[in-house]
Symmetry: C2
Subunit: 477 residues, 2 copies
């Protein structure tokens, strides 16, 4: 049926049918409502959900961030509430509001966070999300009238905010700012729909119609053929690693304690300075990641850091963008999260084993760089360790583990299977190290054939990086 | 090996072995650390985790509650971080700290929340959780010494709190209070272990030994035979429901709008008064729960309430106490959560289909009553609607649904299967209505054969209950 020939009631009813089709097709749908104060966001959401099945939508209200949310990256609280595949999330305000609150009237649009938002929407859209953005507009006189209605009714007076008053007082300046924001953030994959809400019934009908049309289009869309992968030349970084590097046992014993003490003290300083830290540990099976992490954290206050071991995603996690589950684990400011394996699984095991499609892991290089940039913009120290060993060393360690009753559990059939794919993993790792090594989130390749050497290197790298950052902070003052 | 003959190092290493056995046996383990300020909680946790596998433990720090946590029931933030089956949670402070903060020195122990805590630990323990509680003690002089050490080191001075100073100033009064607390909250299933930490090494060893012994005991424990169920006489409440009650269409049309408007206004008042509301909807398949909820919420601000449809628990949810997933959905103060099906699944579908063992659903009556009592203590309005229809009406509706292309999706093979067990469900529902109807969280049986009647009844019950509560609040002033 043509949505332009449908009544509001028919549209609403048919929306429930489309909602089920969306569920069947596993498409996540994000509907954002932004706009002028008193433009009727609440009412429009109410009309939209009228006949929707509450099992697959959620209204998410973004008010002032909570204490905890303030201590996380800008986009964290939104990531937490994105819809899973097949579900709808209706956002009452969004990252656009947060963005607008950093603006100053009459100064033109400040560009901070604009790239974060653009990257985010592109990445979600490439992952299959349908994004609809409504900006509700109301004329100045109507706004004042609605304001008065709310302000002079004792049951609703509490809803008046400073924002209402600001907008009424500086209508024209806000208009300019909103216009600039809409122009800068409308994109092919996430366009803005500006809806005039003076006539609420008509506005609701228009929104229903746009949602209806967009859902129908999304359901009919045929996934595009992925473009053939361009041949790229990747340097063989692993082959350049000097795996013969070792350290004397005496030197090891001498260095370990003071380094651990220093790491502990630095962790406290990061805590007091509210600098968040994210450490990533990747490496071959039996490369010694766990041991290196234990040595690094040995003296640290366990209340300030968390080790997050990453395994294969659960069925629930599969229902989201693959970065979603990592957002949930990000530290608060001043805290440290150590990822034992990480989002780089996308570029290693998921690529090699075919758990991700080629177009999925191909676009992950960019997504990951953007993600880490976002962490960096937030102020985090991001360090990524790749613990490298050669194939013989791995074999030796596998065999040792099988003989030690305390370590047997560590070795599984899967480890042996992975081992058979050594060359494929080498190729993937080289490309990963090459394409995701950035100054903001550098890779540190750790020579791991001798465990003592690698443990000291991890500790020293951490200590130096933190000291470097603290020195920078001082200069910035 | 006898833990009393093991060195600290051996104990620590062997703990990792026990940890894997606990994982295999799916036992959740909660270790709580409380005690005097500067008694070394951080250090003791550090020693405990030294050789533990970070994949199956988590250190959970409970500091001052966040804004959001303050707006939830007292126990909410702890429920959120309990360990899943097979995992360890190490709590650095806990609900005992929260409890102690409500106390006043020299006044004797205030009993508020004591029952909540006792019920909680009993319920977790019955669900299979091993609960270990350590109370760390340090003498007054040692405490002052440690305080000075922290306070006079610039890297750690930030760790000094008002609590430290209070305890140093009023050591004897705190001692009395702590003693009373320990005596009131030690139980067979969750005993306190008081550990003197002046010698930190020795204290760490003692804790390791207690943990080692307790884990070993838990692993050897043979589940007790469930006692035979006592014969109880349950009145046939459903048979007393007058399903012939109807309402004129005209009367329905006349009443609906004003009731919906009133419900909306009352929801705003609850919002401003920060009263949380929890509504539960249960009933036969096709009884009209969804329609009743839609009519109830039609005019409400969608930002103030949430409809939470409850389906069968996911594999992850199965890893926790069955009430866990409901805690996650509780509203903030001032907000409303409407459960479309609920924790009562335990006493209906899980009982009838055998998804819960008889001893599990048998103890659920008490657990649910305690849970709702906890909600009530927090200040919530709790209303539970059971929408009742007779078997013929259900059949009629099933057949109607199958003929309507917009409603076909609503009817599944499972609905027909459930229908075959009508008498078993009747028996379970009668017992549920009888044993969980409390003045703090009453059941409202809604006559559902005529949908119009049931919708109006739900609206009227809601409106009256809220008005009644608001009147009470006024008297309380």
């Amino acid at each position: 049926m043509n949505p332009y020939e449908m009544s509001r009631k028919e549209l609403s009813k048919d929306l429930a049918r489309l909602q089920r089709a969306i569920k069947d097709k596993n498409i996540p749908v994000l509907v954002i409502f932004e706009g002028w104060e008193n433009a009727g966001k609440g009412r429009m959401i109410q009309e939209l959900i009228r006949d929707m099945d509450p099992r697959t939508y959620k209204v998410q209200v973004f008010d002032t961030p909570t204490d905890e949310e303030r201590r996380k990256p800008f986009l964290w609280r939104f990531w937490n509430r994105f819809p899973k595949r097949g579900d709808f999330a209706l956002f009452d305000r969004s990252y656009y509001q947060t963005f607008m609150e950093t603006q100053q009237l009459g100064r033109g649009l400040k560009q901070d966070n604009l790239k974060d938002i653009f990257d985010l929407e592109r990445s979600l859209s490439e992952d299959g999300m349908l994004i609809l953005k409504f900006f509700l507009v109301v004329g100045r006189e109507e706004q004042i009238e609605r304001h008065n209605e709310i302000a002079f009714n004792p049951a609703t007076a509490f809803r008046v905010t400073q924002r209402d008053l600001d907008q009424i007082g500086h209508y024209a300046a806000f208009e300019v700012l909103f216009q600039q924001m809409l122009e800068s953030t409308s994109s092919e994959f996430a366009p803005w729909h500006v809806v005039e809400t003076t006539d609420e019934k008509q506005a609701a009908e228009e929104i229903l119609r746009i949602v209806h049309t967009s859902l129908t289009k999304a359901l009919e869309a045929v996934p595009e053929e992925a473009p053939a992968r361009e041949e790229i030349h990747v340097p063989d970084l692993l082959s350049e690693v000097n795996l013969r590097l070792t350290i004397d046992k005496d030197e090891y014993d001498e260095k370990l304690d003071p380094l651990q003490e220093e790491a502990k003290d630095l962790a406290y300083i990061l805590y007091t300075k509210k600098i968040p830290t994210i450490l990533v540990f990747e490496g071959w099976d039996a490369a010694g990641k766990g041991g290196a992490i234990k040595r690094l954290t040995r003296e640290m206050d366990p209340r300030g850091y968390e080790v997050v071991p990453i395994a294969a995603p659960t069925p629930v996690e599969h229902q989201y963008h693959y970065l979603w589950r990592f957002f949930a684990h990000l530290p608060k400011t001043g805290h440290m999260t150590i990822f034992d394996r990480s989002w780089y699984g996308r570029l290693m095991v998921e690529r090699v084993e075919g758990f991700a499609k080629p177009e999925e892991w191909e676009r992950a290089y960019e997504e990951i760089n953007e993600f880490e940039e976002h962490l960096n913009n937030w102020g985090a120290i991001v360090l990524k360790f790749f613990v490298h060993i050669d194939s013989d060393t791995q074999l030796q360690r596998f065999e040792d583990r099988q003989e030690d009753e305390y370590k047997q559990y560590k070795i599984t059939d899967e480890d042996w299977r992975n081992r058979d794919k050594w060359p494929e993993y080498e190729e993937a790792i080289n490309e990963m190290l090459w394409r995701t090594d950035t100054s903001r989130a550098p890779w540190i390749i750790v020579e791991g054939n001798q465990k003592e050497y690698s443990r000291i290197k991890v500790l020293e790298t951490f200590v130096n990086a933190v000291k470097h950052r603290l020195k920078e902070e001082e200069y910035d003052k």
